[in-house]
Homo-oligomer: 254 residues x 2
DNA sequence: CGTCGCATTGAAGCCATTCAAGGTAGGTGG
DNA sequence: CCACCTACCTTGAATGGCTTCAATGCGACG
């Protein structure tokens, strides 16, 4: 099956190149999506600044939103009062999908940065979708992608020890930037240690220690004095570290 | 705002009743959905038995599936070999959403019981949706609901100690049955302790101990000798237990 | 009857949390 | 400008919850 020389050559292509090509393709898809949205019936543009709340849990659902620039976090609160960061959103991501089924937003969407959001009335979007299958496909792909991403989060929390979880979080953030054509070797965390810990299911002290350890072995470097800006010299090395954390004693189901 | 006597009376209605009404409504929605699907262009019906694989991760995406009867589990495997149960599916649930964005299934769907699956070609479904907005709404609501459910899982894993997580898992399962009009006070777990533990991010021993503790305080009872069938005399009591696990020292963000 | 898979339970050890102390950056007002 | 405050981060030490390792029990099946 893999014996064809042509295929073997293709596989032998340096993975860095492949990664870069993937990122460029992803970046193009996001640009296409945004162009598509811009051509949609009156997208309502809105500038936001760090801390701005786009919508709150419980508010009636009217609009879906697409992030043109900036970064958002999603926060939920359970009936018994537990709070949880349940997602991060970057350029090209949609916000509000979780509101569709109940007609009310299911979480708070809070800006972590200055940015621009495009909001679309859901009913109008549906009409536009009926006429433009490509738009419909984009919406479905986005929802599908959100489901996949959520599962990745669950897997990370369920299977990785604390250090690897933090490393995986940084990798995810860097990947998200790379896919959007931004430099990924240098990231500005816009969350406190407490928020990161909440997102990853650990305490702020554990996050702090994990970051210190990663810095000690040079997998990351702190750029600023406040230790919020982090350089990742080699993402591949981070990924290797995550795998090493699993240990040789990998237990599988079945 | 809540001073109206009429509203006060409504609120004073026993919560059990309200819960029951919710369940009935949910049950009706599911019945409607299935009727809607049945009216759709050639839904392909298929009987499955425990262990049958509906689709595998990596296989080309062609169909979405709706579960008419039975229970499924979803399994993913990360690039570095970690395995994870990422979801459970009951009557009326859709399978395959996560495949849309990449054109390939992102996980394995494995039957845990005999049941019947209705499969729909995605391209045909889209055409049908364009003509029947209600069908489109149902699809979107289902995807939205899956996103919400995934976040609940994440919250459970991130914020609850082991015992409460197992209790929450049982509560979720019972709720899922109740919403479908099935008796919820008695559930047959179709997963091994290892699978439950994997889904909840803990070891099989911890699951076993948690169940033993829950049984010791009479929150659950084992029905069969194999300890796979579990009775839940009072779901409310389970919920109270989960809250008590949080302890009075609740820490919030901000 | 023996084996295999799954579940339970105990004991020891470890990783993450908890508790506590101290440090740094940034903002405010004197 | 400095003192002060607040919010955040870091680090150490002790505790505890979960995991790991190991032994045993139980039921199904050939």
């Amino acid at each position: 099956m893999f014996s064809s020389p042509a295929i073997a050559t293709a596989i032998a292509t340096p993975p860095v190149r492949a990664q870069q090509r993937d990122d460029e393709a992803a970046c193009q898809r996001i640009a296409d999506l945004l162009a598509q949205i811009a051509a949609t019936p009156n997208p309502q543009r809105r500038l936001v600044r760090s801390g701005d709340v786009l919508y709150q849990a419980g508010a009636p659902f009217t609009h879906l939103h697409v992030l043109n620039t900036g970064i958002f976090k999603l926060l939920t609160r359970s009936a018994d009062g537990r709070e949880q960061v349940v997602g991060l959103k970057f350029r090209g991501d949609w916000l509000g999908f979780s509101a569709i089924s109940r007609g009310r937003y299911a979480c708070d969407a809070v800006a972590m940065d200055t940015g621009e959001v495009w909001s679309l009335r859901y009913d109008e979007l549906l009409k536009a979708c009926a006429q433009h299958p490509a738009l419909m496909a984009a919406v479905h792909a986005a929802m599908s992608g959100e489901i996949m991403r959520d599962r990745d989060s669950l897997m990370s929390v369920c299977t990785l020890p604390a250090d690897a979880r933090v490393a995986d979080f940084l990798r995810y953030w860097a990947d998200s930037l790379a896919e959007r054509g931004l430099r990924a070797d240098q990231i500005r965390l816009r969350m406190t240690r407490a928020e990161i810990g909440n997102y990853l299911g650990m305490t702020l002290e554990t996050v702090s220690r994990a970051l210190s350890r990663l810095a000690r072995v040079k997998l990351i470097t702190f750029i600023d004095k406040g230790r919020r800006d982090i350089a990742i010299p080699d993402v591949r090395a981070l990924e290797d570290f995550i795998q090493r954390c699993l240990g040789p004693t990998e237990q599988l189901l079945h």
